[in-house]
Subunit: 607 residues, 2 copies
C-alpha cells in the first residue's frame, strides 16, 4: 500500500524556484521559457547538471517538458507518467498537461496559441534538438512570436548546480567487443563517403561508446560517458575530459588515429571546420546550439548517424554472447522468483526488497556490471504506473491479493537485458486474469509474426494491440524499443510504436527489439509481459526475403494468471513450446529450489 | 490469352523522341533530365498536355518516372506496373527500374550516384512537387550536382503537343451537395486563421472541386477541372479558363465572393500578393514552380491543405447517399455477373466485352456519370498485373480454366464506388483457391478491426497482410486508399499502406477507405478482393474513443473459390453475415436472372 504522502508533499521548494525563473525571464524579456528533459547529447538519462526540468518542477520521471510563463506553469507528460506526475506535481501548483506519446509536440501548439504576437519564447538551444528547434521555430514564426535560443536561464538561478560527471572511461574489450574500433571507423567513413561527406559530428553518447568501443558510467544505467566526436576521413577527435582516460588508453586510442580534446572545445572545433568541409549531421541527434556553430560556408549533409544503423544490427558473435547473457539473466530470475514465492506470506516484503533481491541475483552472474534501468516493481495500483519507481518514502508492501509487476534488466559485458513479468500474490481476480491473458495474446501474436525484410517496425505495432483494441483497451507506450549490446536499453532506429518519430525503421536481421504490450488500470493494477526479440532470417520466396523473431528472453510466464479459454490453440502451443525452451536452456544453470521452481513454472498448459 | 505482340512492339517512335530530347538537353547543358508523371496540379490522371512521360517512354501506366542521360534512359516504376512496363518498354530500349512503392525516391538516389560532380540535372519545376524538389535538391547538392528547374524541354520538341482541356464546369448541386460552398469556404478560412494565415493557394484539383462544389471532365474518371485557387479571408479567386463557366454559374460564384481569372494568371497573382501576406501552402500539393512565384517578403506557412482533411470526413448525409450509391452499384454488378455466368462457355467473351458490359450495367442506374477509373478485367496472367488495362490490340479471351479478376467502379452524383471481385472460369485449381482464401482472410481481418480513434492508418496495413506474410507472400501496392464523394477514387489523407508518404493519416469518423489485399503470380493469375470501408464510432471506454468499419460495398464474394478449411469460425461467420446483408440490401433492386444469381451467390457456407 502507498504511504499517505510522497516526500515532495512535505516541503516543496518548487514555487520559490519558479519565482526565480520568472524573475530571470523578465530580466531577459522572455515571456515563456521551455525546460525540456534534455542535455547537449539528447540522452534519455541525464547527468544531474542537466536535470533542470526535475529541479524546477519536482517531476522525476525520465520524460517531460516544462513550460513556464508569468502566470502559468505546465508539465507536458505522456501516459506512462500521468499517475506519477499527478503525485509529484500536486504540491507545486504546476499543471499536468497530458499528451499521447513522448514524441508529441503538444507544448509547441500550446505556446503558439497562448503566447501573444510579438512576445518571446525562450529555451536553451544547447539542449534543444535541431529537429525539434525547427518545429518550434516554424510554429512560433507563423504566429509572429520570437524565439530566443541563446539563454540558459538556469545557470545563474540554480545554486550549486552539479558539475559534469568525471567517471573513468574503460575499453569494451574482446571477446565481448566483437568488431574492432578500426573496423567501426572504416564503416562510418564508408557511410560518410556514400553521402558525400568528409566530416561527421556525433553528440549522442551511445553512438560514441559504440564507435570507439569505450564505456563509462557518467549516467545511471547506460554505460556511456559525456562526450562529442568529430570524425574525419582519416582522423577522429573525441571531446571528453582527459582526466577520464588513463595514459594507456590514451595511447591505444592515439594508435587508432583518435586524439582527445577537452569536452568544452567541441563547439570551437565545429567553428574551425575548413570552409570547404562537407559535414554529416543527424538533425535528430544534434542540438540546435551545436548546429549553430557550423560555419555558413560548410556544406551540411543531414542524415541519420550511420552508427545508429550499424549498432542496431548485431553481429552474429554478439548475438551468441547475448543468448548466453539471456541464460545468465534467466537463471538469476529463477533464483529471484523462487525466493519470492518461498518468502511471500511469511516475511514482510516491499517493492524495495524486490529491487534489492533481483539486483543481488543478477550480481551473482558472470560479466554482470549493473542494472540496465531502475527496477520497476509495482504491486496492484503501483503496477498501473508503467514507469513507477518505489522510493523509501513511497512504496507498497507486498501483502494481500493482487498482481505484482516486475520490469527489470541487467547490463552484462556480453549483452543488455530487459524483461517484464507479472506474478500473482494471494488471490487473483478473473478481471486481472482476463487482462493478463489479453496481453499475453498480443505478445504471442507479435512473437509469431513473419514479415518481409525491411518492413517498417511501426507497422507491427497493431499486431500486438489488436486483441486489446477489440475490447476497447489500449496502452500509452510503444510496443517495442530497440536494445543495445552492453549499451543503452533504449536504442534506435527501430521502434514498434505508433509514434513513428524516426523515419528510418526498417526491420533488418540482427536487430533486437522488445515486445511489451500492457494494460494499466489506474489505482487498481497493471499488466505487462515483455520479452526481447531478435530479427532472424526466415523464408526466401519469389516475393522476397522474410524475417521472423527468435525470442531471446528466457523466463517462465506465470500460467496461474491465464484464462485458458481465451487462448487459441496456436497460442497455447506457442506458450508450451516457449516454456519447454526455457526449461531446456536454463536447467543446467540453476539448482535446488530455483530448479524446482523452474520445473513447476514451465509445466505445459491445456484446455 | 494474350495476343502475341502489343501495339508498341510494331513500330516504336520512342528512340527518335529520346534523340530529340537528348539534343535539347545538350543545347541547355543538362546532363540528366527527369520527366515525372505529373502536371502543375500533381494529379494522378493527367491531361494529355502533361503526359510527356508516356510520350517519351511509351509506358502508359499512371505512375512512373523517366530519367534520361546521354547514354541511359530508365523508367522507375512500382510493382503494380512491372509486367506492363516490361511489355511496353521492350521495343524502346528504355530500362525498367523496379521500385518498392510509387512513393519511393530511388531515381533520386540513382541520379546522386550516376551524375558527375559539377554536372546538371534538369526537370520542369512547374510539374515538380515542392516536397519532392527539396529531396532532389538536398540529394544532388550533397554531391555538388547542379539542379536546373527552369526548363520545360518538352515544349519545343513535342510536335502538336495537346492544348489544355476545355470541358465545361458544372455545379455539384443539392441534395447531393450536402455542404454549401459558403460553409466550405468558412471552414477553410477558420483553418487558415488557426494557422495564422490570411491567404491560401490551392493547386490540387480535387480540393478545388470540393471547396467550390464544382465538377468538370478535363481528365479521365476524376470529375475535376484544371484550375488553381487563391483564397483570402473574405474573397476567393478561381484561376480557370472563363469559357468553361457559363454566365449563370459565374454569377452564382460571384455572389459567393468568388471571381474568375484566367488560368495562366495564377503565378502572377502569387507574385502580386501583399508584402505582409501570410500564405498557407501544402508542400506536397503545390509545385516548386508555383512556390517560386511567392515574393520573399511573404510569410509562408506550410501545412496540409485544410480541404484534404475536411473532404475526407464525409458528412452523415453524404454517407447516406453513398449507402444508396452502393446499393445501385451492387444491383448493377448483380446484373453484370449473372449475365457473365449465363454466357460464359457459350459466347465468346473477352476482357473488352467485360468492360463494356459492366459499364453498361452501371449506366442503367440513376445518378450515374461515368466509370471512376478504367475497368481492370484480367483473366489469369493478366490478372497478375494489378493495374492491367485490356486494349483492342492486347487482351485475353475468357475461355478454358482459371480466375477472372475484375476491378471497377462508378462515379454517381451520390458517391464514388470501387470494387474488386475474382470469379472462377471453368475449373479452379487448389493453388488458386488457396491464394483466394488467404486474401479473403486478410480482407476479413481488416474489416473486423476495432481501433482507437486517431490511429495512423498505415498501422492497420499489417493486419490485412499477416495471413499472406505468414506464407512468404506479399503485394506491392497499398492495402487501402481514401475514396472521394463523387470525386477522386484515390483521395487522401489516410492510406492503409507501408509507404506512409503522408504524415497526416489519423483515422477519423466518416473516412471512406478501400480494403484490397492481393496476390499476384506473374504469368499465372492474380487475386484481389476489394470492399470500401467506412470509419464509424464504436466503443467509448476509459481508454478512449474507438472506431470500427462498416463495409459499404455490397456484392457477393464468390464462395466457389474458397478453401473452407483455411478459414477460422469467426471468418466464416463474418462472410455469412456479409452475404446476408448483401442479399437483404440488394433484393429489392434486382429481378429475374440477376435476383436468382444474387440468392445463389449469397448462400451461407459451412465446414
Amino acid at each position: 500500500m502507498n504511504s499517505p504522502q510522497s516526500s515532495t508533499a512535505i516541503t516543496s521548494p518548487i514555487p520559490a524556484r519558479l519565482l526565480q525563473l520568472r524573475q530571470a525571464m523578465q530580466k531577459h524579456g522572455i515571456h515563456a521559457y521551455i525546460i525540456p528533459s534534455a542535455d547537449p547529447h539528447l540522452s534519455e538519462y541525464l547527468p544531474e547538471r542537466w536535470e533542470g526540468r526535475s529541479y524546477f518542477s519536482g517531476f522525476t520521471g525520465s520524460a517531460g517538458t516544462l513550460v513556464v510563463t508569468a502566470n502559468f506553469a505546465g508539465l507536458w507528460v505522456d501516459s506512462r507518467y500521468w499517475s506519477q506526475a499527478e503525485k509529484e506535481l500536486a504540491p507545486t501548483g504546476i499543471q499536468m498537461m497530458k499528451i499521447a506519446s513522448a514524441a508529441a509536440t503538444a507544448h509547441i501548439d500550446w505556446l503558439a496559441q497562448h503566447v501573444e504576437q510579438g512576445q518571446t519564447v525562450g529555451v536553451d538551444g544547447m539542449v534543444l534538438g535541431l529537429a525539434t528547434a525547427r518545429l518550434l521555430a516554424t510554429a512560433l514564426h507563423a504566429k509572429k512570436i520570437q524565439l530566443d535560443t541563446g539563454n540558459d536561464l538556469l545557470q545563474n538561478i540554480w545554486p550549486n548546480r552539479p558539475d559534469l560527471p568525471e567517471a573513468p572511461i574503460v575499453e569494451h574489450l574482446p571477446p565481448f567487443a566483437v568488431i574492432s574500433r578500426q573496423d567501426k571507423l572504416s564503416l562510418i567513413r564508408e557511410a560518410m563517403r556514400s553521402k558525400g561527406a568528409d566530416w561527421h559530428f556525433v553528440s549522442t553518447v551511445d553512438d560514441i561508446a559504440w564507435i570507439f568501443n569505450l564505456r563509462g558510467s557518467d549516467v545511471s544505467y547506460n554505460p556511456v560517458f559525456i562526450s562529442h566526436a568529430l570524425i574525419g576521413l582519416n582522423k577522429a577527435t573525441l571531446f571528453v575530459s582527459p582526466a577520464k582516460i588513463n595514459a594507456n588508453l590514451q595511447a591505444v586510442l592515439a594508435s587508432d588515429g583518435i586524439n582527445i580534446v577537452r569536452y568544452q572545445d567541441a563547439q570551437t572545433a565545429l567553428r574551425n571546420l575548413p570552409a570547404e568541409a562537407r559535414l554529416l549531421i543527424d538533425p535528430r541527434r544534434i542540438t540546435h546550439g551545436f548546429s549553430q556553430a557550423v560555419p555558413a560556408s560548410v556544406q551540411v549533409i543531414e542524415a541519420i548517424n550511420p552508427s545508429v544503423f550499424a549498432k542496431s544490427r548485431k553481429h552474429p558473435q554478439e548475438i551468441q554472447f547475448v543468448r548466453e547473457a539471456m541464460e545468465q539473466d534467466g537463471a538469476a530470475l529463477c533464483e529471484f522468483f523462487s525466493w519470492l514465492e518461498s518468502v511471500s506470506g511469511k516475511e514482510t516484503i516491499t517493492e524495495i526488497t524486490i529491487d534489492e533481491q533481483i539486483c543481488a541475483a543478477r550480481a551473482r552472474q558472470p560479466h554482470y556490471i549493473s542494472p540496465s534501468f531502475g527496477t520497476i516493481a509495482g504491486f496492484n495500483g503501483n503496477g498501473a504506473m508503467p514507469h513507477y519507481r518505489a522510493t523509501k518514502e513511497s512504496h507498497a508492501i507486498i501483502e494481500g491479493n493482487g498482481l505484482l509487476l516486475i520490469d527489470s534488466g541487467g547490463q552484462y559485458l556480453n549483452g543488455t537485458t530487459d524483461i517484464t513479468r507479472v506474478v500473482p500474490i494471494g488471490e487473483v481476480s478473473s478481471e486481472q486474469k482476463r487482462d493478463f491473458t489479453l496481453i499475453l495474446k498480443g505478445m504471442i501474436n507479435l512473437s509469431q509474426m513473419r514479415f518481409p525484410r525491411g518492413t517498417f517496425s511501426p507497422m507491427l505495432d497493431s499486431i500486438a494491440r489488436a486483441p486489446i483494441w477489440a475490447e476497447g483497451i489500449n496502452y500509452g507506450h510503444g510496443t517495442g524499443h530497440g536494445v543495445g549490446y552492453f549499451l543503452n536499453v533504449h536504442e534506435g532506429p527501430q521502434s514498434i510504436s505508433g509514434a513513428m518519430a524516426e523515419p528510418h525503421t526498417a526491420m533488418e536481421v540482427g536487430m533486437i527489439t522488445s515486445n511489451e504490450p500492457g494494460i494499466y488500470r489506474p489505482g487498481q493494477w497493471g499488466v505487462r509481459i515483455e520479452n526481447l526479440l531478435l530479427n532472424t532470417p526466415s523464408l526466401q520466396t519469389e516475393f522476397g526475403e522474410y524475417l521472423e523473431f527468435e525470442t531471446l528472453t528466457l523466463c517462465p510466464i506465470d500460467t496461474r494468471c491465464i484464462l485458458t479459454e481465451l487462448l487459441r490453440d496456436d497460442e497455447i502451443a506457442w506458450l508450451n513450446h516457449y516454456h519447454a525452451t526455457v526449461l531446456k536452456r536454463l536447467s543446467a544453470r540453476v539448482s535446488g529450489t530455483a530448479k524446482a521452481w523452474l520445473i513447476e513454472r514451465t509445466l505445459p498448459i491445456a484446455r
